[in-house]
């Protein structure tokens, strides 16, 4: 099993189960014992996870990827201590308002399959190098992609997560998600067109289709 095997869903699952931080340790770039160099895939996943965490209001510093060789015991200890102090500084995740956090993380978890498709179609990194990965994910183009494609999907996912708890009026949804009525209205419109939610005229609220 390679660092690149660490699925985005593992990361979000850990946060949902109460982890305050997630650290992934990988082999140094260029030192793959195989030919796969999956540590670059792990780097790509790190960037995706950070962006997605940011969209659901979790500090992206709560996830870290570090290159640590099997022989670097003291470096491992230093990295772990450093990460623990970072996470300590950020404090426990999701308090107060833990219930809301779980719903946001659940929504994020549900867009992971879509995110993987976006990665495949739109986020091809030109070469296997740290610089190339870091450059691509820092680019305005990727930010726009996240705004245009992923954020919309995430909004839908958040709305659905909320409606799973029971029907809600548009205003309530906006309030729960901390969004403007216009944003929620756009999200609900898209979800209705896709047949994911329906509008209950009698009770004037939205429900899962």
């Amino acid at each position: 099993m390679c660092t690149g095997r660490v699925d985005l869903s593992f990361i979000f699952h850990a946060f949902r189960k109460g982890a305050d931080g997630v650290i992934i340790g990988g082999c140094w770039p260029g030192e793959c014992h195989y030919v796969t160099e999956g540590n670059y895939d792990a780097l790509g996943n790190l960037h995706l996870a950070r962006k997605l965490l940011g969209l659901v209001g979790v500090d992206p510093e709560r996830i870290r990827l570090e290159w640590i060789a099997a022989s670097e015991g003291s470096r491992f200890a230093e990295v772990m201590s450093d990460f623990v102090s970072t996470v300590d500084g950020l404090g426990p995740l999701g308090l107060p308002g833990a219930e809301d956090l779980d719903r946001r993380l659940e929504a994020a978890e549900r867009v992971i399959p879509f995110l993987k498709l976006v990665e495949r179609e739109k986020l091809r990194v030109p070469e296997r190098s740290e610089a190339a990965y870091n450059e691509l994910f820092a680019s305005e183009e990727v930010d726009r992609l996240f705004r245009d494609l992923v954020a919309e999907k995430l909004l839908t996912s958040q709305i659905l997560a909320l409606l799973r708890l029971g029907p809600r009026a548009a205003g309530e949804i906006a309030e729960s998600l901390g969004l403007s009525p216009a944003e929620v209205s756009a999200g609900l419109g898209a979800s209705s067109r896709q047949g994911l939610v329906t509008y209950d005229v009698e009770r004037s609220c939205y429900a899962l289709a």
Binding site: M1, C2, G4, R5, V6, D7, L8, S9, F10, H13, A14, K17, G18, A19, G30, E31, C32, H33, Y34, V35, T36, E37, G38, D41, N45, G73, A77, I112, P113, F114, K116, L117, E119, R120
Partner: protein, 496 residues
């Protein structure tokens, strides 16, 4: 099992299970040694808590374990040895003497590799005599087939049944073999510094050795000769130590002192690494009057043409004296680094084996699998691994032959059951897994409902990259399934 290291003990317990008639993949080992007791020996209480966490995670994973089937692959009882230097020939002969066919590929027109340029060892043994004898044995052995002028153009297959396409003097052929040994050697770095190639009295240690052996008295008649160590290595660009050049310099210095006891021989060094009993030769050289002068990185010697003479002037900062020494030299000899041979990266790509950042081949584990590559059925020996003295290369060649024969002696090889499998119903034919797989183990096959990804378990190495790319969980890595990992995460975070 919560106990000692899985690295050595897991196979043992798996064997025991198998002997007892239980599928070995029902086994999991909580590594409370390396992952806990060894690193937290001074924090007994917390370590015990952590050990409990580790055991709980292991138990959680065990719940989901499934019995897995391993594969028996047929073994083609033929070896391919790439590289016809001392290591390659020794390895090929060792395999052939144990009763197996060997194809030995040499890039040059002649066998011998780097050894053709070495005349004696530090102990005074005759390298050329040894080489001639070895070459004769290789040519006379009925089971060793030599191809000269050979380059590999394509490699397919896997342990037990490789098919390698070779272009050689007589044309093109495909060799079917069960195991591969890479003994591709290394090159002497061609210096760009110290007037090498510009001044005819600047040469490398190998060139000096050849001139001394061929009776070129011009060098031996010098009144002063300066050797410079670590040329082209232990630098920013090439950080490693080339290991053999210190002994090489001492060997040549001793020969010079023997021929011309009055000659001034200087060795400018950063650290002398005449390791093991070679230290005796270093002392002997010092006793015979060879002057060793240390220099530090940043204070490299400067070589200039001698003003008004045919020789050279070498100036070097001596950190002990705290002064710059000026040496007049009739000849300057550079201990040039050993560098990976041209084409070794291409070979690494073809055989899917790894190299270290310096470009030398990298073994699967420095202690536990020292002559194996991580890729099954591919082994290494000689100086393609790192610079070595002849006895070290020969020992390693026998080691690689032993590992190769341990596979050749079997009728089948067993491939791991921990490989990926596709789930057709869930596959959406996006092809992400196919792109992710460096081993070409996944391909589409046509079904009535469209193309679906299927895994060839024989090629799969179980790295699981494909799983992390699949948007629909349509591909699963057996023995490390999503469910098993998620259960472990749950257990880790559940607390005591």
């Amino acid at each position: 099992m919560a106990a000692c290291t899985p690295r050595t003990h897991e196979p043992l317990f798996r064997d025991t299970l198998r002997e007892g008639g239980i599928n070995q993949y029902f086994f999991d080992m909580a590594n409370i040694r390396e992952h806990c007791s060894w690193v937290h020996s001074k924090q007994a209480e917390e370590a015990t808590q952590k050990a409990k966490d580790i055991v709980r995670m292991s138990v959680a994973r065990t719940v989901g374990l499934e019995p897995l089937q391993e594969f028996d692959l047929p073994m083609t009882k033929v070896a391919l040895v790439v590289g016809g230097g001392l290591a390659g020939m020794t390895c090929a002969l060792s395999i052939a003497n144990q009763g197996f066919e060997v194809h030995l590929l040499e890039r040059d027109k002649e066998l011998g590799g780097m050894a053709r340029r070495l005349r004696t060892t530090l102990d005074g043994l005759d390298v050329q005599g040894f080489l001639r004898d070895l070459v004769r044995q290789v040519y006379r052995h009925p089971a060793v087939h030599v191809a000269h002028g050979a380059t590999i153009t394509d490699v397919s297959g896997y342990v037990g049944s490789f098919a390698t396409t070779v272009r050689y003097e007589a044309g093109l052929k495909v060799i079917e073999h069960g195991v591969t040994v890479l003994a591709t050697g290394a090159d002497e770095h061609r210096p760009t510094e110290h007037l090498y190639g510009e001044h005819d009295r600047v040469m490398t240690q190998l060139e000096l050795e050849a001139r001394l052996a061929d009776g070129d008295d011009g060098v031996a008649a010098s009144s002063s000769l300066v050797m410079i160590q670590c040329v082209g290595c232990r630098t920013q660009e090439r950080t490693y130590c080339a290991r053999v050049c210190c002994s090489q310099a001492v060997k040549n210095a001793l020969t010079l002192k023997q021929r011309s006891p009055d000659m001034n021989v200087y060795v400018l060094f950063r650290d002398m690494r005449t390791y093991g009993y070679r230290e005796d030769a270093y002392r002997k050289a010092a006793d015979r009057g060879v002057v060793f002068v240390r220099f530090e990185q940043g204070g490299e010697p400067q070589v200039e043409p001698q003003a008004g003479g045919d020789g050279l002037s070498v100036s070097v900062m001596d950190p002990i004296l705290g002064a710059r020494l000026l040496l007049e030299a009739d000849h300057v000899v550079l201990s040039a680094a050993v560098v990976p041979s041209a084409g070794s990266q291409e070979l690494a790509r073809l055989f899917k084996v790894s190299s270290n950042p310096d470009g030398f081949f990298q073994e699967a584990h420095v202690k536990l699998r020292p002559v194996d590559f991580a890729a099954d059925g591919v082994f290494l020996c000689g100086i393609n691994h790192y610079p070595k003295h002849i006895p070290e290369a020969l020992s390693q060649a026998h080691g690689a032959a032993g590992r190769a024969v341990s596979l050749l002696a079997q009728d089948t090889v067993t491939a791991s059951g921990s490989v990926c499998e596709g789930r057709e119903q869930a596959c959406v034919s996006c092809g992400a897994c196919i792109t992710a797989c460096a081993y070409g183990a996944i391909s589409f096959h046509d079904t009535p409902v469209g193309k679906k990804a299927v895994v060839n378990p024989v090629l799969c190495k179980g790295d699981g990259l494909c799983c992390a790319k699949c948007p629909t969980d349509a591909i699963r890595l057996k023995h490390f399934t999503n469910e098993e990992v998620l259960d472990q995460i749950d257990a880790a975070l559940a607390g005591p």
